[in-house]
Symmetry: C2
Subunit: 402 residues, 2 copies
């Protein structure tokens, strides 16, 4: 790809091109922040949920409109995108809450061990929750990269499949196998991977996993997260957030907790139904979409972005090897904040991460090759202008959200 | 009130009557389940949130449309309804999660004590979470009614202000004072009280409180819950759910947790923005509403329901004394499930709680005296029919939701 017409030719041959029509991207915007908040699928509309289901059907909607079964129904649809057979995923709450739920349950599966391993480059919440669980249960946290050898006595390994900052993709199956070899339980956070790279949680032998749904699953702002519990752990898993929705007989309103069979025991309290209905509708965009096509296009888009960054002489933090790359490209720039703001002003939306990272996310369902070309062209102009005007710097008052 | 015209006269004199127009109640329905899921305020519409804020403004909405500050903004509006000065409430997550957060923080404020007291008649989740926190931290749970004397060595007292089953209202200030006298921390669950009875959390000296927003606050199905942390505890309170939203400098993405100042430290992960925007809009119905008027009307409505139940010879579980009554009336019926279903078929929506309770909730903002009259009239007809047809029984496959 050496000119804009080449990019246009790739778009013309793209099997996912028609899927782009299922999304709304505002005119004049090139949206490269779907790794933070996915674009709106045009079919998402909460009018029926608000007016008919809530307004008219009221409390009867729990049965009539399937609200009660919604977390498991949506869970199975997410499961299908992460290589999980039905009955192992439930949806609800925030990623933080699901991480707490998963990590606590995981350490309880290894009561004789005392060390939680997490990546010192893991997303902050993942590290904070590991520290919090360790403090609650008098355990230790050891920070190590996913590629490091595991220390002795590890109870739980908590890693992200894709590094939120650099976009590095880790070998989920290999790391899981290595952890199992030393008898550890693995909790995967696939927030930056689900919908972006093919995941095979069952095949990889994953124990527990969590993920968000507002990035590459396009579920809307703060769309509820989800938890995967491998079927082989269902009987033993002992979850700390014992809301009545996860009870074996919730409508008996018993005074002692008894967990439901299966992944239903991972249900917590009443979930945010309106947000979850938006997510359910958003998942329709995956109908007929092959994750292999998504992966192939994602690599094509990120290859192009990296090649153009090289031409501009900009540092690339994201691995160049395909098997080590998720669906984002992170550039290192002295004036990353300023450049990011100026790109946004010109309609190219990426995000800034302190201290010097410009993150560009490539959601293969709706980003085109020509968008990448134009975005990198805009970056070139901005860099030339910044160089001409002299350097600025600064931090956002309240930045954009991961 | 001895005839329907008397009820109509009370409605004509009701200062809250115009507020009823701010709600949608479907034609042919008398809605007495606002204690489970509040009716939809007609101004709630998520079109702008979905299309403009998410669809068009995308990630920029975190600043441009105030998504980042939404939990604290909504928190303060809820605070105004529960007697909390600004800066002590934040909104998000489910009541279960907030209970876990509050109880864990509360026991940490009394590290030398080992007993959590909760009501054996408390809502199931409240009991389950007390048991779970105790098990995590090797404490004991003692079940006692809010009116019982407290045992020695109590660290935390966890009660609900209004009993979800009977509608009994407890003396929040008196019980808080008694707990403080023995050095305990009090966690109040005001889910069945907020928006229904005036609460004065600050004046009562409450320590922590949680509540839901989908009952008398009409925030929509699964609308996010909230937590109150009294300002005097802000510096010391040590919360277990350490999501990055509660960090002192969230956009620094630091690898160690440092809690924010004030109640912002009780923020957890990214909240369900669409559900929270529905709640924010729903809170507009309180503009210009006096909680004293709400309380007066609520007592009038429940007085009328109790008087008509007496005429029908139906057992009333709800206390008759005003100061011991929330905003619901619970009837004890042999065929409660059958009667509840038959009432719903006739357009009178209440709910059933095992084994023999028919719960009728009276949301003073939109329930009229004539609705109470007609509902109790319908109950009389149903009871006559049930008697004539002989008894049935049964349990719901999946019941309605508290």
């Amino acid at each position: 790809v050496t000119c804009r017409a080449d990019a246009q030719a790739l778009d013309a041959a793209d099997p996912l091109a028609p899927v782009g029509d299922r999304f709304v991207v505002p005119p004049g915007v090139i949206y490269l922040d779907g790794n933070s908040l996915g674009a709106r699928p045009s079919a998402v509309d909460l009018d029926d949920a608000v007016r008919r289901q809530w307004g008219n059907d009221l409390i009867r909607s729990w049965n009539r409109n399937g609200w009660w079964t919604l977390p498991l129904r949506v869970g199975d649809r997410i499961g299908a995108l992460v290589g999980a057979a039905p009955g192992q995923v439930t949806c609800g709450d925030s990623t933080t809450v699901q991480l707490f739920q998963a990590l606590t349950a995981a350490v309880r599966l290894r009561p004789d061990r005392r060390v939680i391993v997490t990546d010192g480059a893991n997303f902050p919440t993942d590290q904070y929750v590991a520290d919090s669980v360790a403090r609650l249960l008098d355990l230790e946290v050891c920070r190590a990269a996913p590629s490091d050898p595991l220390p002795a006595g590890v109870s739980v390994v908590s890693f992200s499949a894709v590094d939120y900052r650099t976009g590095e993709l880790w070998d989920l199956a290999g790391i899981t196998a290595a952890a199992h070899e030393v008898g550890a339980i693995v909790v995967w956070d696939v927030s930056h991977a689900v919908g972006a790279v093919p995941l095979e949680l069952d095949a990889a032998g994953a124990d527990l996993a969590v993920g968000c749904t507002y990035k590459y699953l396009n579920g809307g702002p703060g769309a509820p997260a989800w938890i995967y519990v491998a079927a082989r752990h269902h009987a033993a898993v002992d979850l700390p957030l014992t809301g009545w929705n996860g009870h074996a007989d919730p409508f008996a309103f018993a005074d002692r907790y008894a967990p439901a069979d299966g992944v239903a025991r991972a249900r917590i309290g009443t979930p945010p139904i309106l947000s979850m209905l938006a997510l359910e509708a958003a998942l329709d965009v995956w109908d007929g979409v092959s994750l292999a096509d998504v992966r192939a296009k994602s690599l094509g888009l990120t290859d192009l972005a990296i090649a153009r960054a090289d031409v501009l002489g900009v540092g690339v933090m994201t691995p160049r090897q395909h098997h080590r790359r998720g669906s984002q490209v992170t550039l290192r720039l002295d004036d990353a904040y300023l450049v990011c703001q100026e790109l946004i002003r010109r309609g190219v939306i990426g995000d800034f991460r302190a201290p010097d990272c410009l993150r560009l996310g490539f959601a293969a369902l709706y980003v085109r090759y020509v968008d990448v070309w134009d975005a990198m062209d805009a970056l070139g102009s901005v860099l030339a202008d910044v160089q001409r005007l002299g350097r600025g710097s600064g931090r956002p008052a309240a930045g954009v959200v991961t």
